[in-house]
Symmetry: C2
Subunit: 424 residues, 2 copies
């Protein structure tokens, strides 16, 4: 950024400086003030529903003129109920424990030094998202509750809606005396703003969180100068062990794929222990077909069930986000672990078995952000984890893995208390 000039560069530079200053003040904000601000924001948004819906109508009309696909328009659309949902989420986040100041760990050294690792905010969090306007408020609330300053950059197609929601959020913050720049919204649709954020705003961005499609996430992962918490793919697996309970196997397989095939925690591949394939396949396949799932299998599955289409190597690398499931037979737990190591995106995998030893081996051997036993992969969600809310799911290896909520947006500092100790 330091080499860029012009009005946008100046605007973004100021945004970064404002965020850094606000972050310092936010670190000392009292829990009650943060909670009050989020509740006030909910009231402000509810009180300005009409303005928000008017802004949204404008964005929707423009999207219709540009012939955006229906799914895209649905993601953008707000109505009374959706705005109520946004306000309820704010109240939920306000009800969470404030993690800041919590003691992660404490110990005393033989020389009498007392060491504590104390939770602190991360600092400045930048959230880059696409067309879902609720992300404006959810992301801001989670970041602020953890004591961070947040910079929000929403998709240009939904700019007016997001801005109207943001204005309500900001009024709530101001009403409760939080620093005015604790949450900032990038008001320009200029795409260079994203580049500026990814370049780090002169070191004033500590963390970048992308929310949206694969191309956005890939760009952020490739270009961001600050650490990124994100997931690119959710190629999740369900493994049915030879000692799976057939009813649980059927229910988990169907739910993991079909409850909502388009979420990142949806299963894309079903692995079945070769030793139990003949017994498990008929009931599982019947239920999947009854739910409307297209099946693509390897040679072993097709030998048993010729109605299954052939799965290619590419299928096992594919996140369908659709009612399609690739199926492969594997040689027991070790075969499942090997398949997952090769094809998984490190998001979520689940074993169905009544054999505790097999479950333990799967859990130890699968190195994904979330590993489950006898549960649907669709539980891979911050709300379902009890985090209260999530700003995303992380499949990287450092800092936080899996759902990222308020606590995951904190870090720690080391506090050392002595009585005049000097080092010999």
């Amino acid at each position: 950024m330091s080499e860029e000039t012009g009005p946008l560069a100046d605007y973004m530079k100021r945004l970064g400086e404002n965020a850094r200053a606000a972050a310092r003040a936010m670190g000392a904000a009292a829990p009650a003030d943060k909670k009050a601000a989020l509740r006030a924001a909910a009231k402000e948004i509810a009180a300005h529903k009409d303005d928000i819906l008017t802004a949204n109508a404008g964005d929707l009309a423009a999207a219709a003129r540009e012939a955006r696909p229906p799914a895209f328009i649905d993601r953008m659309a707000l109505d009374d109920a959706r705005i109520d949902g946004i306000c309820a989420a704010l109240d939920d986040i306000a009800a969470l424990d404030d993690p800041v100041g919590g003691i992660v760990k404490a110990w005393t050294r033989p020389n009498g030094l007392k060491i504590e690792r104390v939770r602190t905010p991360i600092g400045v969090v930048a959230v880059i998202y696409e067309s879902r306007p609720n992300v404006t408020v959810d992301a801001a609330a989670i970041a602020v509750m953890a004591g961070n300053a947040v910079i929000l950059r929403g998709g240009s197609e939904c700019l007016a809606t997001s801005k109207a929601l943001f204005d309500g959020f900001a009024r709530g913050m101001r009403a409760c005396g939080l620093p005015p720049h604790a949450a900032q919204f990038v008001e320009t649709p200029d795409r260079a703003a994203v580049g500026a954020i990814l370049a780090g705003l002169d070191g004033n961005v500590d963390l970048v969180i992308p929310r949206g499609g694969k191309s956005l996430v890939a760009r952020v992962q490739a270009e961001a100068r600050a650490p990124v918490l994100s997931h690119l793919d959710g190629i999740c697996h369900v493994y049915l062990d030879a000692q799976a309970d057939t009813d649980k196997a059927t229910a988990v397989a169907v739910n993991a794929k079909m409850r909502r095939p388009g979420v990142c925690g949806a299963a894309e591949t079903l692995l079945i222990d070769r030793a139990a394939l003949a017994a498990l396949w008929p009931p599982v396949a019947r239920a999947l077909r009854a739910a409307g799932c297209e099946l693509r299998g390897d040679a072993a599955v097709r030998a048993l069930d010729p109605d299954v289409a052939p799965a290619t190597e590419e299928d096992f690398h594919t996140e369908y986000l659709a009612p399609i499931l690739s199926v492969a037979a594997v040689d027991g737990v070790d075969g499942a672990i090997a398949h997952i190591a090769r094809y998984s995106s490190g998001h979520t995998e689940s074993i169905v078995t009544e054999n505790r030893e097999a479950a333990a081996r799967f859990i130890a051997g699968v190195d994904s952000a979330i590993v489950m036993h006898n549960a649907s992969t669709q539980f891979a969600d911050g709300g379902e984890f009890g985090l209260g809310a999530e700003i995303g799911i992380a499949t990287g290896r450092l800092h936080a893995r899996g759902p990222v909520g308020v606590e995951e947006l904190t870090t720690y500092k080391n506090v050392v208390r002595g009585d005049g100790q000097i080092r010999p």
Copy 2:
């Protein structure tokens, strides 16, 4: 790397693939096997002292021919006692608790799902270092104890010495049945190997740790595609509050600067509460001068003590790593916090005061990796923290702040145990 070709590219690519495969196996290594391997490595290194000293003599002769500075040659030089120290460090690391498998946190959801965050290794750690050959063994041992695979790239000036030490380490690993590629040493002095590691070896590097001078760390921070744990500067501050005990203030100031002026935790700036400057300065200055410290002060300090040289703006941004101390008067705790926010590198700061409220305000308001009360900044060290050993100090904000030891080289996965739960 995928676009690079040629023997080096092939060699580095294979190194990455080998490391990834070894990391998978290391994740399941038993604590006893890892401990036995480190102890066996210590025995192997001790048994091959002569080979190591011969290799070191060759490296030292080459360094002398190239007229390297004495401090550089001293960092390279091994003798009997230094090799004994390397072996003792291995035994110390082997005596640490194995963090892998530890439960970070556990809770149960209303639907009966039991969620645990379980410590796991990070995966593949690359350590890029300069001329200290002991880093070869220390870094390998810490990384391996945490269940990681490690790729070691040492400075070319000390390649033969590091290789001789590495060979001993590797024999110990093999003797105890750990995967042969759990620790790999880059055997070529070709500088392009560093570029290949920073490019990420096709996604086979999960973390990069640089150990060495500022130019190395800056390059790694700028170029690494994987997360980095590091610190660029250690511009550490000691703040003497108006209510400091004079003896403690004197002892901490002298120790923080002069015990070893060249370490990253050495104080570079002394801040003194303006309200107590006249009382505190004479005894503190006397002790610092008696210890051989050069003093550079701001106008307030020089008004009191004209023998103090003037400190420029640049001084307060400088990590001297030498017996030089910049001194400034500040307006109480808030003045100290503001000065530190402006000039600190986020490493370590300490307040000396008998006023608990002032200490609490300083600890809350200073956002550095380590914040101390009545203790010397020279305690900023993994050994002094009781971590057993450290692979470095991190001043970034994510994952780990301050000393990075075995536990900080782990991450977690989310383990979810159910009884067939599906998501409504």
